[in-house]
């Protein structure tokens, strides 16, 4: 019964995602919808390191920027085929994942949040100032449309369906990983590091793997973003963007694919809905996110699974143990 309900929910969501752009012909809405799919890919990645493994990644913006600029520069400055740009973006994800993960994840503590937040700011700084390569504040313009087997995806409407397929594939892969031995170990690391260590699992390697999944998907999402917008500049990739991704993950529901997808959809579309508040919409949006953190920490999915308050008050016992 429960399983079939879940199946029906997923099917319904899929139908909505397929039908909406056909019914709603507004081009701007199509762009927002494409953005939603990009966000699903990025949040699904972030979920591995932050949601499952419990290590704060505050640098999603910088990671996405690396992917976006890699792809954009490959196809504009160096005239490589678009597929090469995407591959370079993935490689960039691997490099960032290992390069940042190695110094900060071997150690216990909050170091990953600090290095990623720093990385993100520095990335933005370099992208803004290295004018010869990146175009500085002008950004990279005229990023070509994706060409899929001879079909040019030259409207947001066409790209949307291509990205929908990618998002579904990423979601399935991510679901499989979460429900595999890796997903289990990621959660175990969040629960109790020493016990995982004593079970013969190299924790640093596992955390770096989780982080690399996040950076690869983040960079890939960045590349998707670049080819969808056709234009990128450094001001997109700020701390606010990183915070938005965290909010998506949390508001949807930490640690689950369903949560990541719902969160990405809600947080991408909510500000558009709130636009009527004009000057106040960003304030209202941020307040909603803050209230979510305090009152519905397990996110929207917990409304369906019904354990919304369980975790919130589960701390007392743990905090006593932790402070021995």
């Amino acid at each position: 019964m429960r399983k079939s309900l879940k199946g029906a929910g997923i099917l319904l969501l899929l139908v909505i995602l397929v039908v909406v752009p056909i019914v709603d012909k507004n081009t701007y809405h199509h762009i927002v919808l494409c953005q939603t799919l990009v966000n699903i890919v990025v949040v699904t990645g972030l979920n591995f390191i932050t949601g499952l493994t419990g290590q704060m990644n505050m640098g999603t913006a910088g990671i996405m920027a690396m992917g976006a600029y890699s792809a954009a520069l490959c196809s504009t400055k160096f005239n490589f085929p678009i597929i090469v740009g995407f591959i370079v973006a993935i490689l960039m994800g691997l490099i960032v994942g290992k390069g940042l993960g190695y110094p900060s994840l071997r150690l216990k503590g909050v170091y990953l949040s600090l290095t990623t937040i720093g990385f993100s700011e520095i990335t933005r700084l370099v992208l803004t100032n290295w004018v010869d390569l990146t175009g500085g504040t002008m950004g990279v313009q005229n990023i070509p449309w994706i060409n899929l087997f001879g079909n040019k995806l030259d409207t947001s409407f066409k790209i949307y369906y291509f990205y929908l397929v990618i998002a579904i594939l990423v979601t399935i892969a991510s679901y499989r990983i979460i429900h595999s031995k890796w997903g289990r170990v990621f959660k175990a690391i969040k629960d109790n590091v020493e016990a995982v260590d004593a079970s013969g699992v190299d924790i640093a390697k596992m955390k770096i793997l989780a982080f690399t999944l996040a950076t690869v998907l983040g960079c890939f999402g960045g590349a998707m973003y670049a080819h969808m917008m056709g234009y990128i500049n450094p001001t997109t990739f700020t701390q606010d963007l990183s915070a938005n991704y965290l909010a998506m993950m949390m508001i949807g529901g930490i640690g689950t694919v369903g949560g990541s997808v719902l969160g990405a959809i809600v947080i991408t579309i909510l500000p558009e809905v709130l636009r009527f508040m004009e000057n106040y919409y960003w304030l209202v949006f941020s307040t909603i996110a803050l209230l979510f953190a305090i009152f519905l920490p397990n996110g929207i999915v917990s409304l369906f699974t019904g354990n919304k308050l369980l975790k919130r008050f589960g701390r007392t016992e743990k905090s006593f143990k932790g402070e021995e």
């Binding site: 595999s180 031995k181 890796w182 020493e194 016990a195 995982v196 260590d197 004593a198 079970s199 013969g200």
Partner: protein
């Protein structure tokens, strides 16, 4: 070191900024023994175990496992050599079920890389099935088959301890280190735990344990090392220890001997 020794602790000293927790401790654990480390609270038992399992290195001295120097290895590396452990204050994965807890314990036996996993779902399923099979074997062994899908945080303490024991068995260790296995258990649970420890020993796994309950120690152990204030004050068979004056003074108490004799029959 001869072939009969599985674990050799060689003059280790551990200082925590001035406080000497373990002082020049040496001990030899022979193969096919159940070796107990006993002593009053704060005598450095858990600190010793933590050094053997690599949670932190000793300030001085070396530790050898089957001839390999493990002094400066990480816990996971030591675990991979075949040393598995449980903890004094349970360390379980509280967001996972009993089955999943066990499966994490068996994770390091799996070999598949993540790319291969994504490309080859069939082989991935096979590997998962193997791990599952092993976990169910252990579940059966520790008698928690009915509770396989229950979240561990909803289990009573005794069952949680049993889960942790099962997790330690998952990786098929050669040496099992138990930190106070009987603590906090009621007499029935304790008896069950003692039985399973003996049964496990009979399957060929050597056991090193810390324990406060003298009934357990005196009845199942073949060798005992006694610590007091971080230093070894005695070692030998249960009989030797029970008749060692210094141990009686420091730990067992004057009246212990007669009580011991009576209790032995009860258990």
């Amino acid at each position: 070191m001869n072939n009969e020794t599985i674990l050799k602790v060689d003059h280790i000293t551990k200082r925590f900024s001035g406080l000497v927790a373990v002082n020049d401790l040496s001990l030899l654990m022979k193969k096919r023994t159940i070796h107990a480390l006993i002593g009053p609270n704060g005598s450095g038992k858990t600190t010793t175990v933590n050094q053997i399992t690599g949670a932190f290195p000793p300030t001085e001295g070396e530790i050898y496992y089957k001839g390999t120097c493990t002094t400066h290895m990480q816990p996971y590396q030591i675990a991979r050599l075949g040393i598995s452990r449980t903890f004094q204050n349970l360390k379980l994965f509280t967001s996972l079920s009993v089955l999943e807890n066990l499966m994490v314990g068996g994770h390091q036996m799996t070999k598949m890389g993540i790319l291969n996993f994504l490309i080859n779902p069939v082989k991935a399923k096979q590997e998962e099935a193997q791990l599952l099979e092993r976990a169910e074997e252990v579940l059966e062994y520790i008698g928690l088959k009915d509770l396989r899908d229950t979240n561990v945080k909803n289990l009573p303490y005794g069952k949680q301890k049993m889960t942790e024991f099962g997790r330690a068995l998952m990786m098929k260790p050669e040496l099992l280190i138990l930190d106070e296995p009987a603590a906090g258990l009621n007499p029935t649970e304790r008896k069950a735990f003692v039985d399973i420890i003996l049964k496990t020993f009979d399957t060929g796994i050597d056991i090193f344990l810390i324990e406060h309950n003298m009934d357990v120690v005196m009845n199942i152990c073949t060798d005992i090392t006694v610590l007091n204030f971080g230093a070894k004050i005695a070692e030998g068979s249960p009989y030797d220890i029970q008749n060692n004056d210094e141990v009686i003074k420091a730990y067992l108490g004057d009246k212990y001997k007669p009580i011991m004799a009576v209790k032995k029959e009860v258990l």
